[in-house]
């Protein structure tokens, strides 16, 4: 995580709050695809064709921009976290509607339906094993598609802990509190999940 870029995001957020259209566009450009990818990972593969992640993200962006004045930038990554939460809530709404008459096929990761929390908190452990810059990786569509497939093949428990750790960037303590497990158990669960994921990724 580099704070220079986060600082730039913060600057764009300030401009966007003042109604600067170009700043808004830039924020959307930078974070839109990221949030979309996150959302796609959230959705079960069977549902992916049925739910337009672009729509979800766009709706989330619309909501985010409208609520921008209530957003305070305190910590690194706050903006994306905030945006992702909105997108997730939006996805919940979409899924709720989708499942309204199809309860039986509900299979997405049961993430918590909590409302946005702008307090944030730290992202927790940052991955030290970065091989290339995020934006370059982001452009690697095939890799992300593989990741989607790999995640699809994981059991629910694994998917959840990966999300909490790698997307929501919760610390092991936070995850432990959430899941009602010990910190050590979380580390072990996460390790197994990541191992399973890499195996699946290899074959995807």
């Amino acid at each position: 995580m580099n704070s220079v870029n986060d600082h730039k995001t913060q600057h764009l957020v300030t401009l966007a709050k003042e109604g600067d259209q170009s700043a808004i566009d830039q924020l959307c450009r930078i974070y839109g695809e990221r949030v979309r990818r996150i959302i796609r990972l959230r959705i079960d593969r069977k549902l992916r064709p049925k739910i337009d992640s672009v729509d979800v993200v766009q709706d989330a962006l619309v909501l985010a921009l409208a609520g921008l004045k209530n957003f305070t930038y305190r910590n690194e990554g706050d903006f994306l976290r905030w945006l992702s939460r909105i997108a997730e809530n939006k996805l919940h709404d979409v899924l709720d509607k989708f499942y309204a008459d199809k309860r039986d096929i509900r299979r997405e990761i049961p993430f918590k339906k909590e409302r946005m929390n702008t307090d944030g908190g730290s992202f927790g452990v940052a991955g030290p094993l970065q091989t290339t810059t995020p934006s370059v990786l982001l452009s690697r569509k095939e890799q992300l598609d593989r990741l989607e497939k790999a995640i699809d093949n994981l059991k629910l428990e694994y998917r959840e802990v990966i999300f909490l750790s790698r997307i929501e960037r919760l610390s092991h303590d936070e995850i432990a509190a959430k899941l009602g497990k010990s910190k050590g158990a979380v580390a072990m669960l996460l390790s197994r999940a990541l191992v399973a994921l890499t195996a699946a990724y290899e074959n995807a």
């Binding site: 580099n2 220079v4 870029n5 986060d6 730039k8 566009d25 959307c28 450009r29 930078i30 974070y31 839109g32 695809e33 990221r34 990818r37 996150i38 796609r40 064709p49 049925k50 739910i51 337009d52 729509d55 993200v57 766009q58 709706d59 962006l61 619309v62 909501l63 609520g67 209530n70 994306l80 709404d93 509607k97 992202f123 940052a126 991955g127 094993l129 970065q130 091989t131 810059t133 995020p134 934006s135 370059v136 990786l137 982001l138 890799q143 992300l144 990741l147 790999a150 750790s165 790698r166 997307i167 580390a187 996460l190 390790s191 990541l194 191992v195 890499t198 195996a199 990724y201 290899e202």
Partner: protein, 837 residues
């Protein structure tokens, strides 16, 4: 066995990896080289898997982190300025929009300005999306319309970059225009009409905008409206497996929430009707200055779109009612009930603009404002004592469904009519306004009502949707507006609900009895009910063919459901109507009576059936006590049955209750000021009562409403004749005779009174040549004036029938029969009819 060994191997590998990863996730920095030494046989796999894990973690990182190049990307667009793409020189950036940057460029070949939009780079790798994008561009190219921003070309470069070459439209956006200063009604409508035309042209080609908003509508300096970004905003979600093909980047905001349709907001499939909703939002915003579902946060906006009605009160006072209706229809939350074709809005707005152009707008507006501020204030409850239900619009666009809309109008009138404290204009009065474009206040003035109900009906299969609004007429202010949707079976409940809601809105007193009757509805058999409505539709045409056809449908209705009181009631009224005129079928009254009794057997609160029975007793049975009872019951059940009241008035006259009769007829006129028969009949009564000046006055009133009303001319001439003004009398009666053979006899009598016997006898000869029951009563009058009493009584005997001439009991009244009063035969005749002398 081999499988087992493989599994075993995998388990060991996974376990080893888990240990390594566990150290890693706990924040330690395990050494991979040191680690693989423990598992030499798995080294390759372990290294590969750890590399994979690194890759995955980096991918996760890329999702949650941004980096330098993100921000660099964001400004690269600027670099295009000064560069050349094809034959286009980029002059400057004019915007960053949903699709990337927009540049103003110079077309060096055609020497014109163009707008160039860069195409999202993300499309580059996706051939399906690119194809779709091209198809959309092709569609846009096919939309050759003056109000649509045109596309000139697409340029696709090898490295995946693509550019749209678009018509450059100078001027401000509608969003800027609205923000600058409020739009005048005409201006807003003119812009709205052009938008509607543009969208309509696109819809015809199957192109849906999906992101219609003031921000992508431009107004050129010469006032032309151009809708931009057609077909480019968003491709529909495909049904195929990827489901995520889109012509745009996710990073850009598409539907601006303020203009999103409820189905868009819900993420449901959308079609052209989503544009119609957005169009409604735009019109609303132009008229009020703010979007209909505007709120502080997008969340609230979205919730409002789904849950709330726009605040219709904020529309400017001068907003014409038909525009309000169109707006309501555009902003119907259910696309099935929404306005289906935006062309209809274009037409409606066009007509309204013509109407506004035709009359001086400023004074009119000043007048509304004056009345709105001049102490009258908002349409206060309690002020409304009379109202008119204007013909409900048939929104199906199918003329075959006209009967249904008319039937609903009539049924609503009937229901509202049941509220005693409310004067409701009759069907006859209001039908004159069918398809008539007139400002509501004017209509209300003409009908002399405080309020107007107008609305629309759509029937799709078994579902009926009624939208209605109540408008305080003098101020043209909306008091209430709502939509109802119900199965055709429950249509009567629906109508009763509408009526009761209106009563509540205007806080008019509904007695417990009336309330009970309104509430007492029953389900209908849809097929029977439709046949009933068709029957009434044709009966109401008041033509011999219409009556025949109408009776036919009613008989069909009864065949379908022999227990339907409405159909019997309609049949009774139909037969009674056909029994009145000349050429009446001899058994019409008898059939009418049978139907009326059957109807009452099934539902004794059916006002129409009592009304039919009253007329039968008055005109055929000469059952005076029974007639009065039936009249009173009918009028108690529905005080607004004006025709019935008119007949009741004649009943009162027969028994010498002249003042009461005149009062009742006056009320008929009040309730139906535009029905020319009202003053004609009132004049007739004055004439019989010997008040000739009043008679002339009323007759003239009827002729103002309809210069060709034969009965009006008959009364006018007859009153003149009584005053010795024969020239005027002959003139009026000549015209009456030309208009209708039924009134030819009048001229004969007037000639006789004027002493022009030869001419009188000529008329007589003509009448006697082929006389009907109808003529007998009139021929007798001529002979009476000619002092040929035998002949007069001979013809009165013929009038006695059977069948009875309906007017015979009144022979004591017309001045024409005065010469016979002293003859003993006259008293005998009265005695036979059991009427007072």
């Amino acid at each position: 066995m081999i499988a087992d060994r493989d599994d075993n191997k995998a388990d060991i590998l996974d376990e080893a990896l888990t240990q390594f990863v566990n150290a890693y996730v706990r924040g330690e920095q395990p050494d991979i080289d040191e680690f693989v030494e423990h598992y030499p046989q798995h080294e390759a796999q372990i290294r590969r898997r750890v590399a994979g894990l690194c890759e995955i973690d980096a991918l996760f990182d890329s999702l949650v982190q941004s980096d330098e190049s993100d921000f660099e990307d964001a400004v690269t667009g600027q670099d295009l300025v000064g560069k050349k793409i094809g034959s286009f020189e980029i002059v400057k950036m004019i915007g960053r929009g949903g699709m990337g940057e927009v540049y103003l460029a110079r077309d060096t070949k055609l020497k014109r300005s163009v707008a160039i939009k860069s195409v999202p780079a993300s499309l580059a790798g996706d051939s399906t999306a690119r194809m779709r994008f091209r198809r959309e561009a092709e569609l846009l190219a096919s939309l050759n319309h003056p109000n649509i921003g045109a596309i000139h070309d697409i340029i696709e470069q090898e490295e995946g970059a693509g550019y749209l070459i678009l018509e450059y439209v100078p001027g401000e956006t509608l969003a800027q225009r609205i923000a600058r200063e409020p739009l005048k009604l005409e201006e807003a409508l003119s812009i709205g009409q052009q938008i509607a035309e543009a969208v309509s042209a696109a819809h015809k080609k199957g192109v849906v905008h999906r992101d219609l908003k003031p921000g992508n509508i431009k107004i050129t300096p010469d006032g032309r409206v151009k809708v931009l970004d057609f077909g480019l905003a968003k491709a529909p979600v495909s049904e195929d497996k990827s489901g995520d093909i889109t012509a745009t980047e996710p990073g850009h905001i598409m539907g601006t929430p303020a203009y999103m349709s409820p189905e868009q907001t819900r993420g449901n499939p959308t079609d052209h009707r989503t544009d119609i909703w957005s169009f409604g939002c735009i019109i609303y915003q132009m008229l009020t200055g703010h979007s209909p579902f505007e709120s502080d946060t997008a969340t609230d906006t979205l919730a409002r779109i789904i849950e709330r009605e726009p605040n219709w009160q904020t529309l400017p006072q001068e907003t014409p009612a038909n525009i309000r209706v169109i707006l309501r229809r555009c902003l119907d939350k259910d696309p099935r009930w929404r306005l289906q074709h935006i062309k209809d809005a274009a037409i409606e707005i066009g007509e309204t603009l013509n109407l506004l152009a035709a009359k001086p707008a400023a004074p009119a507006r000043a007048r509304w404002r004056e009345s709105a501020n001049g102490g009258l204030g908002r349409a206060g409850p309690g002020r409304i004592k009379s109202l008119a239900v204007l013909p409900l619009a048939n929104l199906t666009g199918d003329p075959e469904q006209e009967y249904f809309a008319d039937g609903m109008t009539e049924a609503l009138i009937a229901d509202l009519g049941k509220i005693g404290a409310l004067q409701v204009r009759s069907r006859t009065s209001i039908m004159q306004y069918k398809d008539v474009k007139k400002p509501l206040p004017e209509i209300a003035r003409e009908l002399n009502v405080d309020a107007v109900v107008e609305g629309s009906v759509v029937r799709v299969g078994q579902q009926v949707r009624i939208s209605a609004q109540l408008i305080h007429a003098p101020t043209d202010t909306h008091i209430w507006v709502d939509s109802y949707e119900r199965d055709l079976r429950d249509i009567l409940t629906l109508l009763s609900e509408v009526a009761r809601t209106i009563a509540r809105q205007i806080e008019i007193t509904v007695t417990p009895d009336q309330e009970t009757r309104l509430a007492a509805t029953r389900p209908v058999n849809p097929e029977t009910y439709k046949a009933y409505l068709k029957g009434m539709f044709h009966l109401n045409k008041m033509t011999p063919e219409g009556t025949e056809k109408g009776l036919d449908y009613l008989r069909q209705a009864i065949e379908k459901d022999p227990a339907d009181p409405l159909a019997y009631g309609g049949l009774a009224l139909g037969y009674v109507a056909s029994a009145h005129g000349p050429g009446a079928p001899p058994d019409a009254f008898a059939r009418a009576k049978a139907a009326a009794l059957e109807a009452l057997e099934l539902d004794d609160t059916l006002a129409e059936a009592h009304a039919a029975l009253a007329q039968i007793k008055l005109y055929r049975d000469w059952d005076w006590a029974g007639a009065e009872q039936a009249f009173q019951r009918a009028l108690e059940l529905n005080p607004n049955l004006t025709l019935t009241r008119a007949h009741y008035s004649f009943y009162l006259l027969l028994f010498g209750r002249t003042d009461e009769a005149l009062t009742e007829m006056r009320r008929v006129q009040e309730v139906d000021p535009l029905v020319p028969l009202g003053p004609a009949w009132q004049g007739w009564q004055y004439w019989w009562a010997g008040q000739y000046d009043e008679a002339i006055n009323e007759a003239r009133k009827s002729l103002e409403l309809d210069p060709n009303l034969a009965v009006g001319l008959y009364v006018l001439g007859s009153a003149y004749a009584e005053k010795g003004m024969y020239e005027e009398a002959i003139k009026a009666h000549q015209k009456a005779g030309v208009l209708s053979r039924d009134w030819k006899s009048a001229l004969g009598r007037t000639y006789a009174l004027a002493g022009r016997q030869d001419e009188a006898r000529l008329v007589l000869a003509e009448l006697e040549a082929d006389s009907t029951t109808w003529d007998t009563w009139f021929i007798a009058q001529i002979y009476a004036v000619l002092d040929e009493k035998d002949e007069a009584f001979r013809w009165l005997e013929a009038a006695y029938g059977p069948p009875h001439h309906p007017y015979l009991p009144w022979i004591s009244h017309p001045p024409a029969f005065k010469p016979l009063h002293d003859d003993p035969r006259f008293g005998v005749l009265l005695h036979r009819m059991n009427v007072p002398e």
